[in-house]
Symmetry: C2
Amino acid sequence: MTLQFESVVKADIARLTPLIESRLLTPLSEGEAPKLKDSMVYSLSAGGKRIRPILCLLATESLGEPIELAVSSAVALEYIHTYSLIHDDLPAMDDDDLRRGKPTNHKVFGEGHAILAGDGLLTEAFCILAMDQGLDSDRRVEAIKVLSQAAGWRGMVGGQSLDLEGEVLVEAGKPYDYEHLKLIHRLKTGALLQASLEMGAVVGGATSNIRGILKEAGSALGLAFQIKDDILDATSTSETMGKRVGKDEVKGKITFPKLLGLDGSKNALIKATEQAIMLLGQLPNPNSLVAWARYLAERTK
Amino acid sequence: MTLQFESVVKADIARLTPLIESRLLTPLSEGEAPKLKDSMVYSLSAGGKRIRPILCLLATESLGEPIELAVSSAVALEYIHTYSLIHDDLPAMDDDDLRRGKPTNHKVFGEGHAILAGDGLLTEAFCILAMDQGLDSDRRVEAIKVLSQAAGWRGMVGGQSLDLEGEVLVEAGKPYDYEHLKLIHRLKTGALLQASLEMGAVVGGATSNIRGILKEAGSALGLAFQIKDDILDATSTSETMGKRVGKDEVKGKITFPKLLGLDGSKNALIKATEQAIMLLGQLPNPNSLVAWARYLAERTK
């Protein structure tokens, strides 16, 4: 079983990553602000795992629809993810110097341009969706709704705010509980992973039932993803991860291992992953997404 | 003539500002991140002149169409404008403590939350447009295209980048010329003012000819607006403006008065305004927009 999911994921990466990479910089081909463009290209090209775009393409494929329908959604998701990393790394936020083994955007281009690069990528994500000639206007609008709700103050940005606030609570000696931790992560990380699957459903023309299943599976996957991230942060080395680890501990941040213990966290990870897999099993063509659910739970970085 | 345009503008403000204000906070009525919401509401409620939303509503009205069609565009424009002010005021950008006579967002909520408030408003602007039940999907998509191109790296964010870069050039003793100054302002300020008129055209169902006229008029208005801003910065007091003035001089920034002189700037202002008025005269119902073009050139703050 282990070997099987690994070979499926490996084949998906080999098949889908070149497609995503080949489309990622196309929207930035013109323009009159060279340094801004350089700073956006720098972070887009910093070699992420492209998990959100891959999940989006696979969601469309899981319906039996051509992945070409989902390419602009996949690219838009990576623009949003990349902007969020640039802004999260800023001194006023997580203050990180290293990302994916390279200096963070503001270390290279300065804080002003890092803020602008994030703003530019965020805005362009919606431009990419609106410009997609391969989708009718109804699907474009629906994809924009899903992405803007997941990425904005109701979702990712809201989660980042709660996370900043959480640090204040912890510093004041008021640590919060498991439900609050899950809320932060549901918004901060879960919302965009969930949107990846839901956008794949929307552009693929899913029925509302199938869309609901992908959305719920995305929610479970998002929780699993964050639990795994916390476990890795507590147990890995910077060398393996390509970014600073153990920083949650240093900051006194509340994490899943801290609230549930390492074994409790691993159990919660298994539970969320199994729930995602159970839901995904109801799709017409679930094999790849199921393999990815297992892979994301067992990844080592 | 003077009295006439002033009374038209006064009536438009009395008629349209309450409508805009009454819709401005509606999109923020739910959500789970209270401090983020407070910081977004703070800047939205800081009492701007609402020029972009008013121009957008008037553009739809100039076609003989009901302004209700343009309300979500108007609100989205104000979200974009407000986010841009929050990010521009950050220490890494213009480093301003005062905006519209009140402490800037990061002075009240901290830099981290000011960045997030900007990100949240920017993202929500596209959500507002995508959710507008009063427009068919084609018009929603077209409005999102116009706004994302004007606000993003091809437009406003690009202009802000060139402006930051310009400061570096000037510090290095390489002042730039009139054409480069116009480019910066066409992107930084002009693009969003132009989009205000173009979005009003799009949601009002304008022919491509009429849309082109409003777009071109918006471009001229945007240039006039920025020349006037520079003239005011050079000649007004902080008390009148509600924000720091003379800062262009302090920063050694290139401005229209510095390149063209005060008289030359006033002539360029008149020329751009007259061009806008000439174009607007071709619309079915141009009176309000023409009055606003005169008002924007003669405003004292």
